[in-house]
């Protein structure tokens, strides 16, 4: 690829930066888009999963004979139907296999035990009820701190704490432990005029995507598997199936369907393997669609947490020390986002002395998965609440306090990473200048709060091909699943480079046989990384078409230039071919031109966001009404401002739900009492005011258009902003999420 990539951050563009209609919009609003459950495969059977009613138990026996004998049942599977593994791999592979179908132990209510494939839903449901499982119930442990105490029920006898301080030598529920230190925290606190220390708790929450997981599996006679699924990463699903089913990659084709919401909860594969097992045993296609209850019980919600934060500042509002201890629920298997939470919690601030300690702790709940800024929201709630209390105690404006301590280019964080090309100060200044910040807030029991957050974002691997059609339109194929409208932003970036209108770019998300590799669409990476790939592929198209023009004109390729959608020969004004005209010549001059790019982006920009919330609290009932909400965020160059605004509003909405409404409610036997959307309350349009957005465009020079990821940081500030607004409204500091009326009345001392 010969063209030089220019970082043209501050320029106006023809397409990038315009308010474009999403390319998938019409299909979605007219109901024609095909989601996971819409995969149409003739002869598909109905699959259902039997899940444990117990939170912690040994499996003594499983008898599937009555289910197998039921007319209309084509297959019943248990863990024994997973491929055998060599003896030396059994222990290593057991957790992944047991998450598909439990072999000997149940670790959470909803843990899959068996599955059936039948001719109709009614027969499948009846078959499930005919599977006889003998359990030996064990006491569950559901609280993150209780799970760490000596004598707590142990989930995995073989688990030892992994720590940079060494490996433990006794069975434990603490999967890992870390500690980072910068400077001298004790000296930092000694130098402070005010020290605030608080403990915060947050409940486990679900990503709340509207579309449950769905998969349809089809086997060919040569043992090749095709699976239609809803996912954030078709290659991640392929890798998962290859590992568990012991198949060559060439025998597994994953076809991603439209995704009805994901937010991190579809990074992992929950039912693809069991669907494939059923289809292989039944020798018929099988479709499995999760119910809403299964979605709550059998997928990957986000960690409940206990976080202790201590921060000290001088009377002039300079932070001198900070300390945090994070205890995160991992669920039934190791792997909470405690590391991410630790990485971002003090991210906006330049603190000379500090320490962060984190624990990844198992409990008898579903294994947690990513949820939009994984680990960040509860950590931000804790730190920002303490920052607000410090500012209140010192009588300093909360945004001024943050600006006095803000990171700037060159600041080193507690974990040693160094900031560069950031928009933290610009964000805070834009919030302070916003009319919302100084608008009068009159009336009883009304208050205003702010909060600020940092998220690291991601780059990683993406692939794009661009094929030039003879009529001058192009077919762009991407490996990146579109969960946020990234087909549109990808097309916009390609169209900008090619110099052709956006509607001349047809975008498709390819399956795993059709396009090179992509990491999951997650981590606020897709517009940036897949954008890089689209830009490089577009430049590759231009280079190859310059070669073709040179061939047509009989001149050297270095004499051919491309600008304003036309190829020109140097020194000969008569030799001009538009993109369209040259495209028409391609079939007869050596076949079409395909631009290709496979990237692994190692350089990406981070994000900061500042939120302002106004609330009214009813002191008798504890009900909180959100009156006004503003989101300010440094978004780099907004490729499509409409979509960026949507990300800010959507992320803030989920953060508001986390703040006020959402949380898994378990009884003491580990059974979820609110596994439905009536009792697990997601915010609706009735709960929210219009959310104002301010896009602060601090371009990131590592991207040709200056783009940076935007999707995750907006979920983090709402809980702390709303908690501070509640404090100013009724004088109570709430340290537990969700801040339900009951928790507010407790904080008021009424309950």
């Amino acid at each position: 690829m010969k063209e030089k990539l220019n970082s043209t951050c501050s320029q106006d563009y023809a397409i990038v930066g315009s308010r474009a209609t999403r390319v998938d919009a019409v299909e979605k609003v007219t109901g024609r888009a095909r989601f996971g459950a819409d995969a149409s495969v003739p002869g598909a059977l109905v699959g259902r999963v039997l899940r444990s009613p117990h939170a912690h138990a040994r499996i003594l026996s499983i008898d599937t004979s009555r289910a197998e004998a039921l007319p209309g049942v084509h297959a019943v599977v248990t863990s024994v139907d997973l491929p055998e593994v060599p003896p030396d791999a059994v222990e290593l592979e057991k957790p992944a296999r047991d998450r598909v179908l439990a072999s000997d132990k149940i670790l959470f209510v909803g843990h899959p035990v068996a599955a059936v494939a039948a001719r109709t839903p009614a027969i499948a449901d009846q078959a499930i009820s005919l599977i006889d499982v003998a359990y030996e119930e064990l006491p569950p442990v559901l609280d993150v701190l209780e799970s760490m105490e000596p004598g707590a029920p142990i989930l995995h006898e073989s688990l030892r704490t992994q720590s940079l301080g060494g490996s433990g030598d006794v069975p434990t529920n603490v999967a890992s432990h870390f500690r980072e230190v910068k400077g001298d925290p004790d000296a930092g606190f000694a130098a402070a005029d005010v020290v605030i220390e608080r403990e915060f708790r947050s409940a486990m929450v679900h990503q709340g995507y509207i579309e449950p997981h769905a998969a349809t599996a089809v086997w060919a006679d040569d043992n090749a598997l095709t699976i239609y699924t809803t996912t954030q990463g078709s290659f991640a699903v392929r890798d998962h199936l290859v590992e568990l089913l012991k198949l060559p990659m060439s025998k597994v084709r994953v076809i991603p369907m439209e995704v009805g919401g994901a937010f991190g909860g579809k990074n992992s594969s929950f039912i693809d393997t069991v669907t494939a097992l059923l289809a292989r045993k039944a020798r018929r296609p099988v479709r499995v669609v999760m119910s809403r209850q299964e979605t709550f019980l059998g997928t990957g919600p986000s960690s409940g947490t206990v976080i202790r934060v201590k921060m000290g500042a001088t009377k002039d509002g300079k932070l001198t020390g900070a300390q945090a201890t994070l205890f995160y629920e991992a669920g039934a298997y190791p792997g909470s986002p405690v590391g991410s939470g630790a990485h971002v919690m003090f991210g906006p601030y330049d603190i000379p002395n500090g320490s962060i300690e984190g624990y990844d702790v198992l409990v008898n709940r579903p294994k947690v998965d990513s949820y939009r800024a994984p680990g960040g929201t509860p950590a931000c709630f804790a730190v920002e609440s303490v920052i607000n209390e410090l500012a209140d105690t010192l009588g300093i404006d909360p945004l001024d306090f943050r600006m006095r301590n803000s990171v700037r280019n060159g600041t080193e964080a507690i974990d040693g990473t160094v900031h560069h090309d950031i928009g933290a100060i610009e964000c805070l200044e834009a919030a302070r200048a916003h009319p919302h910040y100084t608008a009068p807030l009159e009336g009883p029991h009304r208050g205003r709060g702010v909060a600020h957050a940092f998220w690291g974002n991601w780059g990683a691997r993406s692939s794009v091909t661009i094929t030039v059609n003879p009529d001058g339109t192009v077919a762009l194929v991407t490996a990146s699943i579109d969960i946020t409208g990234t087909r549109t932003t990808t097309a916009m970036q390609a169209a900008e480079i090619l110099g052709i209108p956006l509607d001349r770019v047809k975008v498709t998300v390819g399956d795993t046989d059709a396009i090179g590799y992509a990491d999951v669409s997650a981590g606020s990476r897709t517009t940036v990384a897949t954008g890089h790939a689209a830009i490089r592929a577009a430049h590759d198209v231009i280079h190859k078409m310059r070669e073709r023009a040179a061939q047509v004109w009989g001149i050297d390729v270095d004499s051919v230039s491309y600008a304003d959608a036309s190829f020109r020969a140097a020194g000969d004004p008569d030799k001009v071919l538009s993109f369209e005209a040259l495209a028409a010549l391609l079939p007869d001059t050596g076949n079409t031109v395909i631009g290709v790019a496979n990237v692994d982006i190692q350089d990406w920009g981070v994000s900061f966001g500042t939120h302002i919330a106004d609330v009214e609290v009813d002191p008798e009932t504890g009900k909180v009404t959100l009156l006004r909400y503003t989101v300010v965020q440094d978004v780099g160059k907004a490729i499509n401002p409409v979509q960026v605004e949507g990300q800010l509003q959507g992320g803030a909405t989920q953060g508001i739900g986390w703040a006020l409404f959402e949380g898994y409610d378990y009884n003491d036997q580990g059974q979820m009492r609110n596994a439905n959307l009536l009792d697990y309350k997601l915010p609706t349009a009735l709960d929210l005011p219009p959310i104002d957005t301010v896009l602060v465009e601090v371009p990131y020079p590592g991207h040709p258009f200056g783009a940076r990821g935007v999707g995750e940081v907006p979920i983090m500030p709402p809980p702390a902003a709303i908690a501070e607004a509640i404090y100013h409204a009724v004088g109570a500091r709430v340290t537990t999420l969700p801040m339900t009326p009951a928790h507010i009345l407790e904080a008021l001392g009424v309950l």
């Binding site: 992994q162 720590s163 940079l164 301080g165 060494g166 490996s167 890992s176 432990h177 870390f178 500690r179 980072e180 230190v181 990503q207 937010f263 991190g264 909860g265 990074n267 792997g335 986002p337 405690v338 590391g339 991410s340 630790a342 990485h343 320490s355 984190g358 990844d360 998965d369 990513s370 949820y371 939009r372 800024a373 994984p374 680990g375 080193e412 974990d415 040693g416 990473t417 160094v418 560069h420 690291g456 974002n457 991601w458 780059g459 990683a460 997650a522 981590g523 606020s524 990476r525 692994d600 190692q602 350089d603 995750e712």
Partner: protein
């Protein structure tokens, strides 16, 4: 030579030293050099031929996805951190 910043929980292996200068052109080479001087470090940082799943590495202030393969130069600062993710 690159400087490796020793995580606090590992300083028992390095006689309390917070920074160690070691030769190496990659993170892997730096860890191998550390292991020669302070045995046991590699086992805490690595799992087989990769960084341990809960460990990430930042070189010169930037997190690296290349893990053990990340190049380092004579002036590099190498830090090991908890691994992070996205949703």
């Amino acid at each position: 030579m690159p400087i490796v910043h020793i995580p606090p929980l590992m300083r028992d292996l390095t006689e309390g030293r917070a920074q160690v200068e070691v030769p190496g052109r990659t993170v892997r080479a730096a860890i191998e050099a550390l292991e020669k001087v302070y045995p046991g470090i590699r086992g805490r940082l690595c799992s087989g031929n990769r960084l341990a799943p809960t460990v990430a590495v930042a070189v010169d202030g930037r997190l690296s996805r290349l893990g053990l393969y990340q190049p380092v130069n004579d002036n590099s600062q190498v830090r090991f951190l908890p691994a992070i993710e996205g949703g």
